[in-house]
């Protein structure tokens, strides 16, 4: 009894208790909903059977139906373009800004803080503002492009199937850039200054210093940011709701918006869950790639 108590305080028992708590929390808060979602994807669920558990199992029919729909592959491709485009834009601009503020001119830290304003704003508000900016007839963006002579005729960002997805990507890049910048700034400030001094003495130029010191030292930060970016872009729903509603004709529809549309507009909860499961599979693949790529990292 006494040994059990002491192991609870310090030893194996304590470890098990910690693990059990974390596992229990995960199971309750993430595992159960996840399993529930997967189960739902094999059932026919509508408004009336949503509150009960006795729902007809339909096997793989939701999946077969889903992939037989003509819009499925375009929407999956849109999701890929949205994720890659958003992350690339947010990361590159964010990194550029982080390097810029790293120069540490007077007021740099203040200004860097102010950049976070865009991150703090709710997605629906950002969406409403970009809705105006991207508006076809009277939008600010069209006005600027026209006045600078880049375009002759207005681009209907929200309503032209060739542009609508990119309209949302632009808004999402604006929304996420500052968050990327802050995290990257933290990473940059963690690189010891003497590394650069030594490199400079050895005659490395700025480009070589960036390529051989900054980037390798930032590896874990960049990995984390890309992983977070993937999560944030796959969660991005408000901008779609506010700017294009996935239109026109699904040209800017992505899986996360589509899952909501199926569940809460057409009340086909089974199909909505099916789309979510497809998303989970893709995120797991991405997560595995991320874990593998950072496995060899030297942790200090």
């Amino acid at each position: 009894m006494k040994s059990l108590f002491s192991s609870m305080r310090d030893g194996l028992g304590f470890d098990i208790a910690l693990v059990a708590f974390a596992l229990g929390f995960l199971l309750l808060m993430s595992g159960l909903p996840l399993v529930y979602n997967v189960v739902m994807s094999f059932q026919e669920v509508d408004m009336f059977s949503l509150g009960t558990f006795s729902r007809p199992f339909v096997g793989l029919r939701n999946y077969i139906d889903l992939f037989a729909q003509p819009e499925t592959y375009p929407i999956l491709l849109n999701t890929l373009i949205f994720v890659v485009g958003s992350i690339a834009g947010q990361f590159l601009i964010g990194f550029g800004l982080a390097l810029f503020f790293w120069v540490n001119f007077p007021g740099a830290s203040w200004l860097r803080g102010l950049f976070l304003v865009s991150w703090v704003m709710p997605g629906l508000v950002v969406g409403a503002i970009w809705n105006w900016i991207l508006s076809g007839d009277f939008g600010v963006l069209n006005f600027i492009l026209r006045e600078t002579g880049l375009i002759d005729a207005n681009i209907f960002w929200r309503s032209d199937p060739d542009y609508s997805l990119y309209a949302v990507i632009i808004a999402n890049i604006w929304l996420g850039t500052s968050f990327n910048m802050i995290l990257l700034s933290v990473g940059l400030s963690g690189i010891p200054g003497d590394l650069y001094e030594a490199a400079e003495l050895d005659g490395a130029n700025a480009w070589q210093r960036f390529w051989t010191i900054t980037l390798p030292m930032m590896r874990s930060t960049i990995g984390a940011i890309i992983a977070l970016g993937l999560i944030f872009t796959l969660q991005q729903f408000d901008l779609f709701a506010a700017i294009t509603s996935g239109g026109p004709n699904n040209a800017s529809n992505v899986t996360q918006y589509w899952a909501w549309e199926l569940s809460f507009r057409q009340y086909d909860f089974g199909k909505g869950a099916t789309v979510s499961v497809v998303m989970i599979v893709f995120v797991m693949i991405a997560a595995m790639v991320y874990v593998r790529s950072t496995r060899h990292e030297v942790r200090g």
Partner: protein, 428 residues
């Protein structure tokens, strides 16, 4: 409020013991505020009903309830406001878990979803006996939306429809007769071409082809005028209608943003003088009276050819009683009271009653009165969407067809054929 309650209680000549029980019952009830709880406490004098609707404090439901409760007729109604987007999901969840309210206001295309599954109470017999609610007093469209399987599962709460607003000043400026708004589809396109003036940032027409319920709401009347319907969406006339829409978009007689803009925003461009005509409903009247700095009028929706059948959309909510209500008689009494106040619906809240026997009183504003007359006329031709329990899926097929055709990804014929195929799958 609590003091009032206690005074009320102290007037009772009951034993101390019972009084304290009641006090606790009421306090408990206030905390729980569920209909089932009240069902258990039948000793309580007042029958308490719960009512859910999306009306804000300046809209009908809360005010009608206040008036009703003030009558002290032994029935008290508790009100809960729900957001538009949550009405169906909240109601369903509540129904599935036995917590449904007694009365609910539900959007008319969603009505059949509930009635077909037995969630709403069949009111046919109560209405037959009622001296207040008379089916013959209602416009056929709103009434039809409450009917499922030949039985009456609700009462229209208010109604609206769409018609053509046009800018009379622009008509004059472009040599069109403001007393003769376009009557047919061809005339509409012709007028839009004349009124269209890109150099002045003016589009000929504004409407909504958005990929949500609004798109269906605006297109279905055109399909119906062309002899189509939701279960015959690829009728020749419906294809013609979509081709007309495509002409309007292709020739930029309406903004390309029509595809992603709702009716409210589209009408905004009319009010600001950036569109010469707009297809929208009477809910715009108050805003237009304030914003539009020009002379305007309203005309019936143009028809395919002279003498063709008229049609229009039908919007707004219906009252219904949940089948699980413990007090159906009292709930119906409440609805009867609401119906008896229909004649003040427009005056007090700016909403059109769904009744053909009520004349809308003159507002004294000539533009508005003239417009209301047209909307009352248009209301006669308004048809419900469905009614069908799977309406959202049918509507989605129609929206997809509209957007596929207008973005040029499919021909109007192919798009509507595909929609017809999808709808056939839903109808079974």
């Amino acid at each position: 409020m609590v003091t009032g309650m206690e005074e009320c209680l102290s007037q009772d000549n009951e034993t101390e013991e019972k009084m304290s029980f009641r006090k606790y019952a009421i306090i408990g009830a206030l905390a729980l505020a569920t209909s089932s709880f009240f069902g258990l406490n039948a000793q309580a004098e007042d029958v308490t009903l719960t009512l859910w609707s999306l009306d804000r404090d300046i809209q009908p439901a809360p005010n009608l309830i206040k008036e009703f409760n003030a009558q002290n007729n032994g029935i008290k109604i508790e009100y809960r406001q729900i957001q538009f987007d949550d009405v169906v999901t909240e109601a369903m969840r509540a129904y599935a878990s036995g917590q449904a309210p007694d009365i609910i206001a539900v959007d008319n295309p969603e009505h059949a979803l509930f009635s077909s599954r037995g969630a709403f109470l069949d009111l046919t017999d109560m209405i037959a006996k009622s001296s207040v609610v008379k089916p013959e007093n209602y416009f056929p469209g709103p009434l039809a939306s409450t009917i499922w399987d030949g039985k009456n599962f609700g009462i229209p709460k208010a109604t609206n429809t769409i018609a053509l607003y046009y800018n009379k000043d622009m008509f004059k400026a472009k040599g069109l007769d403001p007393a003769k708004p376009p009557q047919t589809w061809d005339e509409l396109v012709e007028a839009a071409r004349k009124l269209n003036d890109p150099s002045a940032n003016v589009y000929g027409l504004a409407f909504s082809a958005k990929g949500n319920e609004e798109g269906t709401f605006q297109f279905l009347p055109w399909a119906q005028m062309g002899g189509g319907s939701y279960d015959n969406i690829n009728a020749e006339g419906a294809v013609k209608a979509l081709e007309i829409w495509k002409t309007i978009i292709d020739e930029k007689l309406a903004s390309p943003d029509t595809l992603t803009r709702g009716q409210w925003d589209s009408t905004g461009t009319f009010n600001s003088g950036n569109a010469a005509m707009v297809i929208s409903g009477p809910w715009e009247l108050d805003r237009m009276m304030q914003e539009a700095k020009f002379d305007w009028g309203v005309a019936l929706l143009p028809i395919p050819h002279p003498g063709a059948e008229r049609s229009s959309a039908m919007g707004d909510f219906n009252w219904a009683i949940f089948a699980t209500s413990k007090h159906p008689e009292e709930a119906f009494k409440a609805l009867e009271y609401f119906v008896s106040q229909d004649d003040k619906l427009f005056q007090n809240f700016g909403q059109l009653p769904a009744r053909s026997d009520i004349a809308i009183p003159k507002t004294g504003q000539p533009l508005k009165d003239a417009a209301l007359e047209v909307f009352q006329e248009q209301m006669k031709y308004a048809k419900p969407r469905g009614p069908h329990p799977e309406w959202p899926k049918i509507s989605k097929a129609i929206q997809d067809a509209i957007q596929a055709a207008l973005t040029g990804q499919m021909s109007a014929k192919d798009a509507l054929d595909q929609a017809a195929e999808k709808i056939k799958g839903v109808l079974g």
